[in-house]
């Protein structure tokens, strides 16, 4: 990460997004920092409710005008996004920074044709006529591999299949050649072949336009396939982050171990049950004291005393560019990791 900091496109520091609700303050994102260089891809993983979508929406300023409390700093190409007036932020939205939303059926307007919605994204940032914008939309649909784009242009989202809607979302996000693309679970609920096609598409587009990509996913396979760096989130925190190779080959803490263990892989024969992390995600209103993962952690016995329960671990560097939030001693980690590699699992 160090050498990239020279050319940083996006820099997020100590981001917090809190929602006041009747039940209390929901701390969905609670002190998150990461940065991203042009042409690179960051994968954000973590189980449902860990704050992935909330983070990505914060970058686009989509919490403005709601009750959400956003703090920290987000700078995009040197511009502080959190302090930017909405009017100016709007010029970046969809133009410099674009987003592919989770669940394209509900993210597309049911009453407008797909073509019109893509064309609108183009027209907002370019002074062109309707016809020109539609031509551009057709071009994009073609680019993302929708057959008969000229005809499909005039269809409504409900007439598209799941995979095609996902492609349409991508076309809409890419219509202005954004410098940062945020893809929130772009392949969830798609079958494996379509999933592979879409990832391939994103890689191709990145090569073509040199965009930076944030890809949010539950699926570590997607991260391994497409990302350079990875950020593992748990209960609004980063618990481990670094280069994909480092994190995947030398994971340093129990939650990441669990995630990796639950990942389907070639050597894991089909039909065999995947390991899952026992327990359920913690409350974001009153998160567990100490390490937020401790109620579900199988390794906290290896930490001396009750540090896991009483004191919150801080993110610490284990090797250059590899950060981990865990009390375990380096020696213990190495031992556990060694056992895992030996196939104890």
């Amino acid at each position: 990460m160090t050498e990239q900091q020279a050319r940083t496109l996006l820099d997020v520091r100590d981001l917090r997004v809190h929602f006041p609700t009747a039940d209390g303050l929901v701390r969905s994102v609670d002190g998150l920092s990461f940065s991203l260089a042009p042409g690179r891809t960051l994968g954000i993983v973590g189980e449902s409710g860990s704050g992935k979508s909330v983070t990505s929406q914060a970058i686009l300023g989509l919490h403005r005008g709601t009750r959400a409390q956003v703090s920290g700093s987000i700078s995009f190409d040197g511009v502080d996004l959190l302090g930017l007036p909405t009017r100016e932020l709007r010029r970046l939205r969809g133009n410099e920074i674009a987003m592919i939303f989770q669940d394209p059926l509900s993210a597309l307007h049911p009453y407008y044709t797909v073509g019109r919605q893509i064309a609108e994204a183009y027209r907002v940032h370019h002074s062109v006529g309707k016809r020109q914008a539609l031509a551009r939309a057709e071009e994009m649909l073609d680019l993302v591999g929708i057959p008969n784009a000229g005809r499909r242009l005039h269809e409504y989202p409900h007439q598209f299949s799941g995979g095609m809607r996902q492609r349409a979302m991508i076309a809409m996000a890419l219509v202005n050649d954004p410098r940062l693309l945020i893809a929130d679970e772009p392949t969830t609920a798609l079958d494996v072949t379509v999933q592979a096609q879409i990832l391939e598409l994103m890689k191709k587009l990145q090569q073509e336009f040199g965009s930076a990509i944030i890809v949010i996913t539950h699926d570590l396979g997607v991260v391994a396939d497409i990302a350079d760096d990875v950020l593992v989130m748990y209960a609004g925190h980063a618990v481990e982050q670094g280069a994909v190779a480092d994190v995947f080959y030398r994971p340093q803490m129990p939650y990441t171990w669990g995630l990796l263990a639950s990942m389907p892989r070639v050597e894991n024969p089909r039909g065999q049950r995947l390991a899952t992390i026992a327990g359920s995600p913690p409350s974001l209103i009153a998160p567990p004291a100490g390490c937020r993962f401790h109620p579900r952690c199988a390794y906290r016995g290896l930490v001396e005393g009750d540090a896991c329960v009483t004191s919150a671990p801080q993110l610490a560097t284990t090797e250059p560019g590899h950060l981990v939030r865990c009390h375990l001693e380096a020696a213990e980690r190495a031992r556990v990791l060694g056992n895992m590699k030996d196939g104890v699992r």
Binding site: T21, A22, D23, G24, V26, L62, H63, R64, G65, T66, R67, T86, S283, L284, I285
Partner: protein, 336 residues
């Protein structure tokens, strides 16, 4: 049915408790709803008002029987002049008659209003029960058996809703009241009360039936999906015990919203000349009679009208609060 004073319109359907959010703190949807309702000050005030009216409805006939209030005794001495208007200011307000007396008869207005509340709420509650009863049974039948039963009930509902309802409420009166009397119900007001309950209940059930049917079908759908996912089952059965908790919330919300429309409907029927007639007091016939004195005796005109308004408002406010409390979507907010 939103029969606010006669012209009908539809309100969005209340949502169900099962859709309620699964709370972070792990409370049941009902507990969440109750907490939300408690926090809604307007709804709580409305609730208190409803309780007060309920107490009045129960106690007024007793007070009348033991002579604490007196809605029937004529006081010719308290009215005077060619129009037999109440003596004294503001419609003859005095210690004995806090709201004054009726023109012509000199009967105590407060007593009549209190007794009117009793009869009006009794009618509205009974009509709501009829609507809910018919609606639940027919809605369940339609949802469970689908096919021909569903189709027939659906067409019956279409047919009922095609009638101009307010007009039917009054048009059926000459036909049916006599029938009820022939059937052995005492003639006059008892037959009329029965008639009003029956027609309001009858024209109200389709709305309940639709909600219930929708619930049954959506639950079926979900059960089917779950069962199919887990067992590869082809078809699933829903038992009634499972269904009931999902029906409670919409029935409750909808009843609270329908009840005040029945109260206004009674008044509208009185106004159009087919309601319960004096000396039995209802808010409707008091209001209807008082119309003639709107300018000459404003107290007499406003008292029953405002009472009616407050009762209806209290139910509407509470029903609103109840729906918001049970509706998980009511807490969401848009952005910029």
């Amino acid at each position: 049915m939103t029969l606010s004073a006669g012209e009908f319109a539809a309100e969005p359907l209340p949502t169900t408790a099962e859709e309620a959010p699964t709370s972070v703190a792990g409370r049941s949807p009902w507990q969440i709803a109750r907490a939300r309702l408690r926090a809604n000050r307007v709804a709580m005030v409305a609730f208190v008002a409803i309780v007060v009216f309920a107490v009045i409805a129960v106690v007024a006939p007793i007070l009348q029987a033991v002579g604490v209030i007196d809605a029937t005794t004529l006081h010719p001495d308290l009215v005077q002049g060619p129009g037999a208007m109440p003596t004294g200011a503001f419609g003859g307000i005095s210690l004995q008659h806090p709201l004054g007396v009726e023109p012509q008869t000199g009967r105590d207005l407060l007593s009549r209003i209190l007794l009117g509340i009793t009869l009006d709420t009794a009618i509205a509650v009974a009509a709501t029960i009829v609507s809910v009863g018919l609606g639940v049974v027919l809605g369940l039948v339609a949802g469970f058996y689908r096919g021909a039963a569903d189709w027939s009930i659906g067409r019956l509902i279409d047919l009922i809703l095609a009638f101009p309802q307010l007009l039917m409420l009054i048009a059926l009166s000459p036909v049916l009241v006599q029938r009820l009397t022939d059937a052995g119900i005492p003639s006059g007001n008892p037959s009329k009360v029965t008639y009003i309950i029956a027609v309001l209940g009858f024209f109200g059930w389709p709305y309940f039936a639709r909600i219930i049917r929708g619930q049954v079908l959506s639950l079926r759908e979900r059960e089917f999906v779950e069962a199919a996912e887990m067992l590869g089952a082809r078809r699933s059965r829903i038992n009634f015990k499972e269904l009931l908790p999902n029906l409670w919330a919409p029935i409750l919300v909808y009843s609270t919203l329908v009840l005040p429309t029945y109260i206004s409907a009674e008044a509208a029927m009185s106004f159009l000349g087919v309601g319960i007639v004096p000396p039995t007091p209802t808010l409707g016939n008091l209001l209807q009679d008082s119309v003639n004195y709107a300018t000459a005796d404003p107290t007499y005109f406003l008292a029953p009208g405002l009472t009616l308004f407050i009762v209806v408002l209290a139910f509407n406010q509470f029903g609103d609060g109840l729906r918001d409390a049970l509706d998980p979507r009511s807490d969401r907010a848009g952005g910029r």
